[in-house]
């Protein structure tokens, strides 16, 4: 007997043999035909109560059994899955059927000896009474028979050979009808009240177990889903649910270890646990949820490491159904697993395929399960096309659990949902009204919150459908905690554009009184409105296709305005005003002397005189003419270089002095270029001296193989400068202006850099300062990773940069990305607007014909983001 008890599974031990037949139907004691979900719930509660009444109800085995009960119920609640399970698993024995009366197959064991004993039992019990029935049931059970069969045989045998019983006829009662449940309703109704009291007592303080016998049949409990008078019963259900999150977490913990030791069993168990996890993840605290995600990924990795075929591993993470909360967790768990190192490629591929079947949310590869859930929630919010309240309630439960209420992520996700649904052209109905109410109540609408800004912007967005917006305002006014709103702010569903604007103004006046223009029409004092207005003007005035001149002018003005705005935000309003006062001042380009490359008679004559001199006294008068002219012709330049290369020391010295004086002129540079040796020759000391005199910069030793290419590069750079036309000169001036603007900000921030630094180096310093400040305040893993992506891209752009212009463009793009991440982090409602700005910028950037145009367009995008920042910072 003890051996038998040892071999019993926990399910059989706690629930009986019928429950241990295999499958969820037997476990719950349900037929294949189930009328409604409430039957399943009742069956689940019955079984749970059986476990609670067992002496070993506090053991881990009892927890396992409870878990199995919940799993079975969950599976059967899914109709499609139930149909499949009905094919594979046998029906269960209804729990309300007295065990003693359930049919068995072992009829051949009704022996005469057994019948004699049965008769003795009846006789010794004083006839057919409760005691006799109890003892007969026991006899039948011991002999693995049904009591009905024993009684039937008892009655028939009695009838067949009862000659001596004529005097004392035994009156055996007729066999009871096979219980069909209906006849017990009356008893259930009477015992229902008792059962309620018993259940309440058990929930509050579990009492001594009640013995279940063939007579005291299992009490049929009321349908708790309809019961509103039994809060304690409902609480008991919740207690079981909370208990199970720890059980699920514990199971997942254990499965990680079992994956290595007994993978096959672990896989089978995981198949039971994981659906529970995806259904009940909302009950997990965030730390436990993260840990459960880690365990899930680790489980898959360990199986993979042992060479288990991917076809056996990857379906474990597949989730049936489209409940948004389940989809969130399932997709996030797969993403989390995909980011694990060491998985085989096949496993990765199949996981991705499964992920694609569950959802088309963009993939993330970060090590934060909760962040992944948030991203999936956001994707679902942005792509949902339904107003079904049930869907949104599920979504809301998941989103609220993933993103803490009041956090920027939570606000962003809720606003994404609202933004998406407001733009659905399908007509709005009460479903949308309920959804709007749900989402509106999940936001704070407090002073300065992002949702206030967001709402005001919806009124002026033509994509927002008026009837939907009307229902939203109705929900906001009547059901939310927003202050400062009243019935006059509810938009009518048939409102026209002016009416929308009117309501928008009301919200603006109620929530942002300082942003409104005063009655006199003047902007409030101390505001940044002039900068903002100018920024708007310049942003709108910058065309998408620019000429070089337009690019120069736009870059200059926008850079000045952005610098003024940054100075304002940095707390230097006086400096800011100085900059903005001059923001449209044109670039001043000084006059330059450019030497002509044409041969003239005068130039030829001078050159021929000079080149034939041999003594310094002969040369000096000609050089005096040169100084007076302030320019060197092409032939004259060749003559000077010839003298510096060939003549005696004194003449060479005089020639070198002129070469130094006129070293930036194209003619001299060409003449020197002509005098350079070929790549295969070593330069002479004289040419080295000539080059040195002209370039006045540090060069490699003339014995080095780098001398010629370095000199060539320097000469080419000088030639470029010498040949610069007016426009090129303005580009140079633009560079100088940008240096001044960046130096202004760096000085204000207390950072001392040389004015000889390039504008891209200065901009890089400013960006680094902003980035470090921003990173210190970051708490979101999502924004941290966005920042990291921006930094990586900037590194790549810098290495790819072909010139100083390209390097500046690379720094600008980095700055743009940093600003964007920072804005979204602080004002989550701006994400949609920033997306539009980014899209517009990419479009303009792709059309740009030169890097100069790209610089202008990038500066425009930076100005747009700066404007948003100003608007938000200005508003209290």
């Amino acid at each position: 007997m003890s051996g038998h008890r040892k071999n019993q599974t926990p399910i059989v031990r706690f629930l009986g043999d019928d429950a241990g037949q295999g499958g969820p139907f037997a476990l719950l004691g349900l037929r294949h035909e189930i009328g409604s979900d409430s039957e399943i719930h009742r069956a689940r509660l019955r079984r749970l109560r059986q476990v609670d009444c067992h002496p070993q109800r506090t053991t881990p085995d009892a927890e396992e059994v409870r878990l199995a009960i919940h799993s079975a119920a969950t599976q059967l609640l899914d109709q499609e899955l139930r149909a499949e399970l009905a094919i594979r698993w046998p029906e269960g024995t209804p729990v309300d059927l007295p065990k003693a009366w359930s049919a068995t197959r072992a009829m051949h064991r009704v022996t005469p000896a057994l019948l004699r004993r049965a008769r003795l039992i009846v006789g010794s019990s004083g006839g057919w009474n409760a005691r006799a029935r109890r003892r007969l049931a026991h006899l039948a059970r011991v002999n693995r028979l049904s009591a009905i069969e024993v009684v039937r045989h008892l009655g028939s045998n009695t009838r067949s050979g009862a000659s001596h019983s004529k005097e004392h006829p035994r009156t055996l009662p007729s066999l009871p009808e096979p219980p069909d449940g209906r006849s017990w309703y009356l008893i259930y109704a009477i015992l229902g009240a008792v059962a309620c009291l018993t259940a309440v007592t058990l929930f509050v303080a579990p009492g001594p177990p009640t013995t279940l016998s063939g007579e005291s049949d299992t009490i049929q409990l009321d349908d708790y889903s309809d019961s509103t008078d039994t809060p304690d019963i409902e609480g008991r259900v919740i207690r079981d649910r909370l208990t199970h999150y720890t059980a699920i977490a514990h199971e997942l913990d254990r499965l990680v270890a079992r994956a290595t030791v007994e993978p096959t069993a672990a896989i089978a168990r995981f198949r039971e646990i994981y659906p529970q996890f995806t259904s009940d993840w909302i009950a997990f605290p965030r730390a436990a949820l993260q840990r459960a995600g880690v365990n899930t990924a680790e489980f898959v990795v360990r199986l993979d490491e042992q060479g288990i075929p991917p076809e056996e591993i990857t379906p474990l993470l597949a989730v049936a159904g489209t409940d948004p909360d389940r989809v969130m967790l399932a997709v996030a768990a797969i993403d989390f697993t995909l980011s694990s190192a060491g998985l085989r490629q096949e496993t990765l591929d199949q996981l991705r395929a499964i992920r694609g079947q569950i959802s088309n949310a963009p993939s993330t590869t970060n090590n934060d399960l909760i962040n992944s859930v948030q991203l999936v929630a956001s994707h679902l919010a942005n792509t949902s096309e339904t107003d079904a309240l049930a869907w949104w309630e599920d979504w809301h439960a998941g989103a609220e659990h993933a993103a803490e209420k009041g956090s920027p992520e939570h606000t962003s996700i809720m606003l994404d949902a609202l933004s998406n649904r407001l733009r659905d052209p399908k007509s709005a109905n009460e479903d949308w009204r309920s959804v709007a109410s749900l989402l509106v109540r999940s936001l704070d609408w407090r002073v300065g919150s992002a949702e206030r800004y967001w709402l005001i912007e919806q009124f002026s967005d033509s994509d927002v459908q008026t009837p939907r917006l009307a229902m939203l305002t109705d929900a906001l006014v009547t059901e939310s905690a927003a202050e400062g709103v009243d019935q006059l702010m509810i938009l009518r569903q048939d409102a026209n554009l002016p009416k929308r604007e009117q309501i928008q103004t009301r919200f603006q006046e109620a929530w942002f009184p300082n942003r409104s223009v005063s009655q006199s029409g003047e902007p409030p004092s101390g505001s940044t409105t002039p900068i903002m207005n100018q920024l708007r003007v310049e942003i709108n005035a910058t065309p998408d296709l620019l000429s070089d001149d337009q690019a120069i002018e736009s870059t200059l003005r926008l850079s000045r305005l952005v610098t003024a705005a940054c100075l304002q935000l940095d707390g230097s309003p006086e400096l800011s005003e100085e900059v903005i006062a001059e923001y449209d001042a044109p670039l001043q380009v000084g006059e330059r002397v450019q030497s002509s490359l044409s041969m003239t008679d005068a130039d030829t004559a001078w050159a021929e005189k000079v080149v034939n001199t041999t003594e310094p006294e002969q040369l000096r008068p000609y050089l005096d003419e040169l100084i007076g002219a302030n320019t060197v012709g092409i032939s004259s330049a060749y003559a000077l270089v010839h003298l510096a290369n060939r003549a005696n020391a004194e003449v060479r010295q005089l020639a070198l002095q002129q070469i130094t004086r006129f070293g930036d002129q194209m003619t001299i540079l060409i003449a020197i270029d002509h005098a350079l040796p070929s790549r295969s020759s070593r330069p002479s000391s004289k040419i080295d001296t000539v080059v040195d005199a002209a370039l006045q910069t540090e060069l490699p030793s003339r014995n080095s193989s780098d001398w010629i290419p370095t000199v060539r590069r320097e000469l080419l750079a000088r030639m470029g400068r010498a040949l610069a036309d007016d426009r090129a000169l303005r580009v140079s001036r633009l560079q100088e202006e940008l240096v001044e603007l960046h130096m202004l900000r760096l000085d204000m921030l207390g950072m001392k850099l040389s004015r000889a630094s390039s504008p891209n180096d200065l901009l890089a310093e400013l960006i680094e300062h902003e980035r470090v400040e921003f990173e210190l305040s970051l708490i979101s893993a999502h924004n941290s990773s966005a920042l990291e992506v921006a930094r990586t891209q900037a590194t790549i752009d810098r290495v790819r940069a072909q010139s100083s212009l390209h390097r500046y463009a690379a720094e600008q793009r980095y700055w743009l990305n940093i600003k964007r991440v920072r804005l979204v982090s602080r004002f989550p409602d701006t994400e949609r607007m920033l997306g539009m700005i980014t899209e517009e910028f990419h479009d303009r950037d792709s059309k740009a014909k030169s890097v100069l145009h790209q610089i202008a367009q990038t500066q425009r995008a930076i100005a747009q983001l700066t404007l948003i920042e100003l608007e938000r910072e200005q508003t209290p």
């Binding site: 991705r352 080149v611 092409i634 070929s678 590069r713 036309d725 560079q735 590194t795 212009l805």
Partner: protein, 284 residues
């Protein structure tokens, strides 16, 4: 007979081995086997003998990039890009763009990307190209036979020129007069010609030139040639002055290659991702 039988067996084995090494391009590749595009593409590149083979390899790899990007598998997509770069052996510009795209997709490839920058051989050809242009400007009669005839130098000149936005025609129109004009420089590269006047040697400016040595017929042509020289020498990278960089023409817009660019450049049809019997189809 025995040796003959052995010979037959040997030949059969060689044929079968060779057949097994041939990529089975008749097998279907499907988007749900994204890695197959990389494996097959690499095989095709390695075994390509004709331009058609190479085209097929490029198509497979380009499709692989697209599919793996959609699959969010950045590593495999990047690997497809790198393999695709090797399928353009004579197009360094395309190679560089594909490497840039590979880096953009997977930033962990940075060190490989840096290593793949033009190596010493390419840099040498570019320096020679700059020297060729300089000597041509300075009317060196030997430059054509010494340098310009070398294909790698010509390629470097045209590559640098097209990078700056000039067409091949424009470059040839500027260079050819400098290289082939027979009326140039009788004074053998010297600006001053030594003449005897009144019994004395006197230097005179050689007047047989259409325009001064080192210059060209107009500033525009001169700027173009100087810009190409600067590009060959990567001089612009060291030019801090924006005006100079602008004058020398190094103002090409920065383009980050992306999938749209790749699709357009390779001409693949992403709606036909299935490969069956060498044909691209839209359904399995």
């Amino acid at each position: 007979m025995r040796p003959f039988q052995l010979l037959c067996v040997f030949v059969s084995a060689v044929i079968m081995l060779g057949a097994s090494l041939q990529p089975d391009i008749n097998r279907t590749i499907r988007p749900d086997e994204p890695r197959r595009y990389l494996d097959l593409g690499e095989q095709l590149v390695a075994l390509a003998e004709t331009s058609e083979d190479l085209d097929m390899a490029r198509h497979v790899l380009a499709m692989g990039v697209s599919i793996n990007v959609n699959n969010a598998d950045a590593k495999t997509a990047s690997s497809c890009c790198i393999a695709l770069a090797s399928a353009y052996p004579n197009d360094p510009q395309m190679q560089q763009m594909l490497w840039d795209l590979a880096l953009h997709l997977d930033s962990t490839r940075f060190s490989q990307w840096v290593q793949h920058r033009p190596g010493p051989a390419e840099a040498e050809a570019k320096h020679d190209a700059a020297e060729c242009l300089r000597r041509a400007r300075h009317e060196d009669d030997d430059v054509e036979k010494d340098l310009y005839r070398q294909p790698q130098i010509q390629a470097a000149i045209f590559h640098a020129g097209t990078t700056l936005g000039f067409t091949r025609n424009q470059i040839e129109n500027a260079l050819n007069p400098l290289l082939y004009d027979s009326t140039r420089d009788p004074c053998n590269g010297n600006y001053f010609d030594t003449q005897v006047e009144n019994g004395e040697s006197v230097r005179r400016v050689c007047d047989a030139h259409q325009f001064p040595m080192g210059t060209t017929r107009d500033n525009q042509t001169l700027l173009m040639l100087l810009g190409i020289e600067a590009e060959c020498l990567k001089a612009s990278e060291g030019i801090e002055d924006w005006g100079s960089a602008y004058t020398l023409g190094n103002t090409a817009p920065t383009r980050t290659p992306d999938i749209e660019w790749l699709i357009e450049a390779t001409g693949i049809d992403t709606s036909r991702p299935f490969l069956r019997n060498g044909q691209w189809e839209s359904a399995p």
